[in-house]
């Protein structure tokens, strides 16, 4: 069991957040002890492995609400292959690194508040899509501060989206700017991000958790040849 005091959520969400990542060997009794030890927290997120009925039934009994499943995907360079029809959108696009601080700030301003409309913050009535959007921008700023690269996707001369890439871990966050959503560019963006990571020497990519609410992104990963690595249920409690 991994217990994290998510202090960044005080800034992002205005809550004292505890994140608990459970595995198959953890028990509900252990969870109860942790909850007792952290009674001062007012927002608790528990991630539990799938299939185990003790979590499926035990967490709601403890006041937790299921909010999503998180799917972690993986792809190996030698088996990763984009479908041929992607060429129709890819032909006029390019990925450019944005290095200057002022340019990064300008790019962040293009990210609308509803960029993340399927995540657990947007879907939680205790928060709002505006809070979720600002949290997302804070997250991006944190990643850039730690040295990740901010890459922008261009469609001819127009910036249409972005992807954050870490030279060691791979691509993390990505999004299409609101004026260009729903045009097939999301798949191009993810593919270009993957190409960038693989071209910089990585042989395998393991994604962060993709929300089960984000059907489009799940579809894209599967179409790009990713396999499912793990799935976890995510529960929250206020």
């Amino acid at each position: 069991m991994k217990v994290t005091e998510a202090i960044w959520e005080k800034r992002n969400l205005g809550v004292d957040c505890l994140e608990i990542d459970m595995d198959e060997t953890d028990s509900l009794e252990q969870l109860d002890q942790v909850l007792e030890n952290y009674k001062d927290k007012n927002y608790i997120v528990v991630k539990s492995p799938v299939k185990h009925e003790r979590f499926l039934w035990g967490l709601p009994q403890r006041g937790f609400t299921y909010i999503e499943s998180q799917i972690v995907f993986e792809a190996k360079k030698e088996t990763y292959k984009a479908p041929s029809y992607m060429a129709v959108m890819e032909r006029s696009t390019s990925l450019k690194r944005v290095s200057e601080q002022d340019d990064i700030i300008k790019a962040l301003e293009k990210i609308s508040d509803d960029v993340f409309d399927t995540d657990r913050i947007t879907l939680d009535p205790s928060f709002s899509k505006e809070i979720a959007g600002q949290r997302f921008k804070n997250w991006i700023a944190d990643l850039i501060r730690r040295g990740d690269y901010f890459l922008e996707l261009y469609l001819k001369d127009n910036p249409v989206g972005f992807v954050i890439v870490n030279k060691d871990d791979g691509a993390s966050l990505a999004g299409i700017y609101s004026n260009y959503k729903g045009k097939g560019l999301g798949m191009v963006l993810i593919k270009k991000g993957i190409d960038y990571v693989f071209s910089n020497g990585q042989k395998k990519i393991i994604t962060g958790g993709v929300s089960s609410n984000n059907i489009d992104i799940i579809k894209i990963h599967l179409l790009l040849g990713f396999n499912i690595n793990t799935i976890k249920y995510v529960y929250v409690k206020h």
Partner: protein, 80 residues
């Protein structure tokens, strides 16, 4: 085969539709199959069927079946 029938066949095959469902008002993002992935597949199939390469602006503008005919017209495909 007429160009109209050729285009209908593309839509039917890519989006798994019956012929009567392919109308001028058929619109992107109003049916499950015609999402952003379906859109790319549709464009690729249209390019193959009519032996053309569409400009990116036209790919993005392709919003309905009727618009598809209009766009193909720019590439010399007539629908009389």
């Amino acid at each position: 085969m007429s160009n109209e029938q050729k285009l209908k066949n593309v839509f039917m095959e890519v989006l798994s539709l019956k012929e009567e469902e392919v109308t001028d008002n058929l619109e992107y993002n109003t049916i499950t199959a015609w999402d952003s992935v379906g859109h790319m597949q549709l464009v690729a199939a249209m390019e193959d069927a009519f032996d053309i390469m569409m400009e990116t602006d036209d790919i993005i503008d392709l919003s309905t079946y009727a618009k598809g005919k209009e766009i193909l017209g720019k590439y010399g495909v007539s629908f009389q």
